[in-house]
Symmetry: C2
Subunit: 79 residues, 2 copies
């Protein structure tokens, strides 16, 4: 199975990387780019007996390794 | 409109970050994690007259700023 994980800063957390990108692209002439938020993406190949096991593993990976729960949220899909 | 962009290393490009995560999680006792690939995620708020304009802006941003076309691919969705 394959898990696709997106990790984002919580909406109330400041994102200097995203703000810098937004300012840069505006200076470069891209119009209408109001806001940019930067996050992380992970593609994870899993051997799991069933979907529930895969979900448990992905929650564990996100909670312990891939995301910082104080400042980040995560979502994932399983294919 | 909101664009959700995923930038990934091309499959033939080595991913030391992903490999390190895979090795670390195996040592921590997560079973069945065969492969991890790390990428980037961007959420972009756009003022665009229509979907075609938003797509053009997002392709421009990805081609010029968010992705390195030599080693990375990108996909996006518009909401």
């Amino acid at each position: 199975m394959k898990g696709k994980v997106i990790v984002r800063l919580k909406s109330e957390v400041s994102d200097p990387q995203g703000m810098t990108i937004q300012q840069t692209v505006s200076k470069l002439g891209f119009e209408g780019v109001r806001k940019v938020r930067a996050g992380k993406f992970f593609e994870i190949e899993l051997d799991a007996a069933d979907r529930a096991t895969a979900e448990k593993t992905l929650h564990g990976l996100c909670d312990r390794i891939l995301a910082n729960p104080i400042i980040e949220d995560y979502t994932f899909e399983i294919e």
